[in-house]
Every structure is written in C-alpha cells, then in structure tokens.
Symmetry: C2
Subunit: 419 residues, 2 copies
C-alpha cells in the first residue's frame, strides 16, 4: 500500500473533490485535507445567508461522499505551509504530510483591498459560518428596527447596503428586497419592513460585468422592479458601524454586506512562484506550477487563460480543472506528457430574485421567468445527494407559493448584533 504514490489534495471544494473522484481507479493513495468536514455547494450559499435554506441543505460530509472510494483518506485539518523541496505540507496542528504529487485547491477568500478594518462591519460570504453570521445580522436588523424609537436609527436599521455587483451581490440584493417586501409582511407591529431600502453598490460601470451588456441591463431593470436601488460607478470610500461613504454621500446603513473582492488563499504565496493580481498562481497550460511539475493548482486558486480569455472562478471551471489534473497525474505516473487544460464554457447564469434571472448560453440569452426556471433546474440538479435535492425543492416550492423562508432562525449566544 505505501509503495503507491501519495497524492495529497488540499481543499474539498469542486476542484479537489472532482480530482479525487476522477482518480478512483488509479493506483495511488489519496489524502484529501480540508479545514471543514464537508463539501459545500457554494452557488447556493446566499440562500443560507438569506434564510431560505438551512446549512446542511447545501453541504455533505466529505467522508460520506467518498466512503466507498477506498484509495482516499479524508483528513480534517488545515494546511499552513508547503515545503516543495522536502515535498511535504505543513499542518496547523504542527504535523506534516509528505506527498509525491500535490494538488492545491484551497480556493479563495474575500479581500477588502487593503481595508481589513472593514471586515467587522461588512462581512463577506465564503463559508457556511459566514452565511449564518449574515443571516443573523439581517434578521436582527429588522428586530432592532422594530424596537427602535428614534426614526433616523430605525431607518438606518432598515437600510441594507451590498457592496459588489457580481452574481453574489445581485443574489443577495434581490433576495433581501424580496424578504423585506413579502416574507416579513404583516409580522411587525411598529415598523413596515416594506420601507426597507436595499442598495447594490458597484464601482464599475455595470453590474454582472462578466455577462453581455444587454443582460446586465436586464438584471438592473429586474432589480429595480424588486425595489433595489442599484448604484454603478460608485466607489466605497469608508465603512464603519453606522454605514458607508460613497464619495461625498454618506449612507446610514446598519447592515453592510461585502460581495466585492476575491483573493486567493494565502497558501499560494508558499510556492514562491509568480502570482496574478488576485494572488492566484499563474499555472502552466497543464495546470502544474512552473518549476514544480509535481504540484498542481486548481479551482479559484489557479490563474490561466484559455482561448485568450481568463478562466472564470466558477464551479464548472473548478470541476473541469479537478478532472484535468486527475488526467495529468495519471499521465505523469505512466511517463506520458500531459495535455493542456481547455475550459469548456457551457454558459453563465445568475439569479436575481423571485422569478428573475439572466442566462447566457454561449450567445443564446434569456431572462425573467424562463431564466429563473432554468437556473432552478440547473442548481437542484447539481446539488450533491438525494435528500438535499428533495428538501431544497420542497423549501423552494413552499417559498414560491408563500414567499416564506424556512430557515429564519437566529443562532448564537446572544441577541446583540456582532458589532
């Protein structure tokens, strides 16, 4: 057994898990290391943050997913360093993990562009715990507004600002507007949640910049119909506990959510090779690291161009990279040259809110209700595990008819907002 080459995979996201699965019939020993015990279906994380789904609905234990794949050992732990000379990964608990071949797929985190002090006021959305924190802030904001006597403060508690007009920002803004206008309707006695203001703030000239211009405009008008105040070309200058500042304008918003900057996991810096502006590893065409043919990088941590365009940080790209790296590892073990990675772009889709979405399938574009149904089907289909699919469908069917959200539970030790 120990004579088999040891493949260490850091990260059980789409890239890492798909690579592990694609190596199931390969004569290797695999160790899959992750800080959490679960694979997370990140495209639906905003639904946990907005109380539509519960955390276990969109996550499954890595051990359980891989239980029948006997060549994999799942390990709960955190990689904090890489020694490419000694060929081992350093772990947070002080141990090391030797490898013959390494796949780094530890993903990305949010960045505040040098303003780390904003993190406490404007949480980002990357993990399940982030989602539960955001859910807590949103639900408590409405409670605070109800208990508040000062009309200005009440208004500030009912103002929600989302920074960043990418897919996550658009999803959060649309869903928040739906919660304020429909879900909470009639449940408060002193405030009217429909008076809540939802702002979506984007520094660039348009939201959903990765989509064609026409779909950005469709998304903007759909958001406006839901009551979201979309501000493009608006740069955030400051964020504090009372709100944020856009140029000369001060916005009093007690809830600010950060969906703007994405930075690669700091593990990338351990390799000592060139990184791109977002801190990602600029990989070779076969997804290996320059000068380290035994180290591969996949998912959000890899920076690569295909057909002259950067491969986007989305789940389908990460899965394709994971599978490609499994092929490259097999080729290497057989002494064959590895092929170049080619990204197959099946399309791009973003949901906006109740019955509103935009879809771009290689130039075939649609929006509104048909796009929403397409988005729903695609996401439920790709969710891991039978139970999750069924429960998510039930929750959504219920939400569709009743506007209700099934996970409106504030978890935590006390009722104070976390700031």
């Amino acid at each position: 057994m120990s004579a088999l080459p040891h493949v260490v995979i850091v990260g059980g996201g789409f890239a890492g898990l798909w690579a592990a699965r694609a190596l199931r019939r390969t004569a290797v020993r695999i160790t899959l290391l992750d800080r959490g015990n679960h694979h997370l279906f990140q495209p639906l994380l905003y639904q946990v943050a907005t109380a539509g789904l519960s955390a276990p609905d969109i996550a499954a234990p890595l051990r359980h997913i891989l239980r029948r794949q006997r060549n994999v050992t799942v390990l709960l732990g955190e990689a904090i360093g890489i020694d490419a000379g000694a060929k081992h990964v350093r772990l947070a608990d002080g141990g090391t993990l030797d490898y013959d071949l390494l796949l780094l797929a530890s993903g990305a985190t949010h960045t505040y562009f040098g303003h780390d002090e904003w993190a406490q006021y404007a949480p980002g959305l990357k993990t399940l715990q982030d989602a539960l924190d955001i859910r807590r802030r949103i639900l408590i904001a409405f409670e605070r507004a109800e208990a508040e006597n000062d009309p200005d403060l009440r208004k500030a508690w009912l103002t929600f600002a989302i920074v960043g007009g990418g897919p996550t920002g658009v999803e959060l803004a649309g869903t928040l507007a739906e919660i304020a206008r429909h879900t909470l309707r009639g449940e408060f006695r002193r405030t009217d949640p429909r008076q809540a203001r939802v702002l979506l703030i984007e520094a660039g000239p348009r939201i959903l910049a990765s989509f064609p211009q026409a779909l950005s405009e469709k998304a903007r008008s759909q958001l406006a119909r839901l009551g979201v105040d979309v501000r493009t070309g608006a740069r955030v200058e400051a964020i504090d506990r009372e709100g944020l500042r856009l140029g000369e304008e001060r916005i009093h918003a007690r809830t600010v959510l950060w969906a703007a900057g994405v930075a690669a996991s700091p593990l990338a810096r351990e390799l000592g090779v060139p990184l791109d502006r977002a801190g990602r590893v600029v990989v070779q065409p076969d997804l290996s690291v320059p000068g380290h043919p035994d180290i591969f990088v996949g998912g959000d941590l890899a920076s690569i161009q295909c057909d002259g365009k950067p491969v986007p940080g989305v789940a389908p790209a990460a899965k394709q990279m994971g599978r490609h790296i499994a092929h490259a590892i097999r080729a290497k073990l057989h002494g064959e040259p590895s092929a170049d990675f080619r990204y197959r772009d099946y399309g791009n889709l973003a949901t906006i809110g109740r019955m509103a979405a935009v879809v771009d399938l290689r130039g075939f574009r649609f929006w509104g209700l048909p796009a929403w149904w397409f988005w729903l089907a695609a996401h439920v289909f790709f969710l891991i595990g039978f139970r999750n699919r069924l429960v998510v469908l039930i929750d959504w069917a219920r939400a569709y008819w009743s506007y209700q959200r099934s996970a409106r539970i504030i978890l935590g030790r006390d009722n104070e907002p976390p700031r």
Copy 2:
C-alpha cells in the same frame, strides 16, 4: 388601543405561546418577549445535537407563527428583573416593560449541582446553540480519533459519557450508539467507529425514573442491545477535560454530555416568593403567584401538584398551563373567580434509538418497534408548520432506510474542540 389591559408574556416556549394563542379573541394587548426569535420544538432538540435534523427543522419564528394575531406584539429581548410593585419587567437593554398582567414562562436551564466548572467539559442541551455545540463535539471527536496515533488517546476520543438517565440522556445515548455502529460505518480508514463506547450514567437506581419500573427495564435492555453501557447508582464525582470519575473509577472520555440537572430560570428568584428545590415558583392552584394575583407562572418554571403528584416538566403540561392561564386571565378581566389547574396526563413516551422506544399511555404500556412508530407519529404530528413536518419525515425516512443522518456538518470558526 392602549386602554386595553396589557398582558406581558416572558418566554415563547410551549406555555407562553399557547397562552398567547388562547388569548387571540380576548380584548387585551399582548407583548410576547423572548431572547430568541423562534419557538423551539424542544422534544426533538436531541436530533439536532446528533446531526439528524438541522436547526430550522425544529424551530419557527415566533413572529411568523403569530403574524395574523393582531393583538400580539413579539419583542426580541431578555427580561432580567421584575418589579411587582411598579408592575414592570426590567430588560437587559436597560428598558422596562409595564404590564397589567404578567405570565412568566421563561423555562428551565441545566444545573451542575454546585459544580459550575463542569459546564465547560460537559455541555447541556436546552437551546439550538447548545445542540449545535454538542453536534460539533460529537463529530470532531470521531475526527480526532482518526487523526490520533496514541491508542489510549484514540480510545478516549471514542468514548462518550452521557450523565443523566432521563429521557434526554436515553435519547442521546441510543442515537450516539447508532451513529457509531451504523452511520459512520466504512467512512474512516484508520479507526473503526464501531469500537466507540457509549456510557449512560445515572445516579438513581434506574433510568427513566418517571416511567413504570417494567418500562425502565425494557429501555435498559433496548439500550444494551444498541451497545450502550448503562450504569445506574453511579454518582459522578468529578469531570475534567480528560473524562470523569465515578467513585474510584476513572473513565477517559473526551466527550461528556450533561443531561442530569434541571433548574428553573433565575427570573423566578425576582418574585421574592417561596421556590421549590429546583428553584421553581410554588404556584397557587390557579397558577398565579402567592400574594401577586396579577402574575402567573407556567411551564417548567411552575411547581404544582395535581392529584397528589407533581406535574412533570413536559411539553403537554406546559401547553395545558398556557391555556389555563389564558382562561384565568379572562376570568380575572370579567371579575370572575379563576378555576384550579388540572393536569391531564395523556401518557409518557421516550425514544431510545432506531426502532426502539417505550410508551406508557395511562397504564397501557408498549415498547420496541410499535412504541417507536407511535413516538414518531406523535412527534411529527405536533411539530409546528407544514414544511417542518414534511422535511422531518423525509429526513427520517431516509435515516430509517440508510442509517444516514442529514446534518453531519461541523459549523464554527475552527476545528478545535471547544475546550
């Protein structure tokens, strides 16, 4: 509107919520105050702790439950004192809440019989957050065992001790044994979860002391069949991070759960009236407080005898008290005398594990599979809300066939056990 008498209800559990609902057609203003935003179906809390259900499955927002009842205002906040002379409740945020009539239904918490230092090593199970903490400890213990090289430490990580042989302790022990023997089977490469030891420790002579002797014995043999080591007449002398001590015996258990002592909410002491040994308010036959006819106490906070037997701290008793207090409040507003509370005991049931339970319906006793089906039907029936019932049924149907548990997700900031 403000001329109507103001009824303040502290606590949105079974007693408080059922009282509020029973007052829906009464000409009063009701304020329902709770520290959380949700009503919790406490009888299934152990399922959240053992990863069978997710937190929102057994909780529903109080605001949502009461949204159509226009005479209720729900307030998120914590009562920390009562001034019976000035007739107001003091709140943790510094405010006060005036009342004409007060219902105290703030429930119970766990007590360590003067050993508060045990709390950090042996968490109890009262809130959703408690359940998520226990879930985390259980799942991490198996992970730690897998990562551990020292066989003694590995054994300690695979030893689970539950202190207290009441219904909660029995449920936790039975479910933990099932997880170790079935759920996690084949998912670990270095350890065999089936070697886990589950101990149920009870100081008294038998478990499930509130049941007839014969059913206690049935429960014990069903637990033994699941592999649980039941120790009766065993008094815990010490608990620390490495385990616990029973007389001269030292048990190395890295996971100790506390299901032994229940104490009334400290709010009871604010009334300045006699309390029973568990700190509960010894109420009048109509559930009012001696000397304070405008204050009622219900649920786990009330100490009362019916037909010479103490009314147990169970959900049906709390609901009946809540409804009775609503009647008493109406009688008082009409200047009529209030009736005495009479507890209708429909029966007693406890679940033990997969297909095992004990039921005592006023002398009609059964156990095993029929009791388990009865328990299942009763609990799903009483769960609040359509979605919850359906989702819980799906999860349980799946668990029944596959032994899988749908919420095996470790939540939290890091992977360290909380001690």
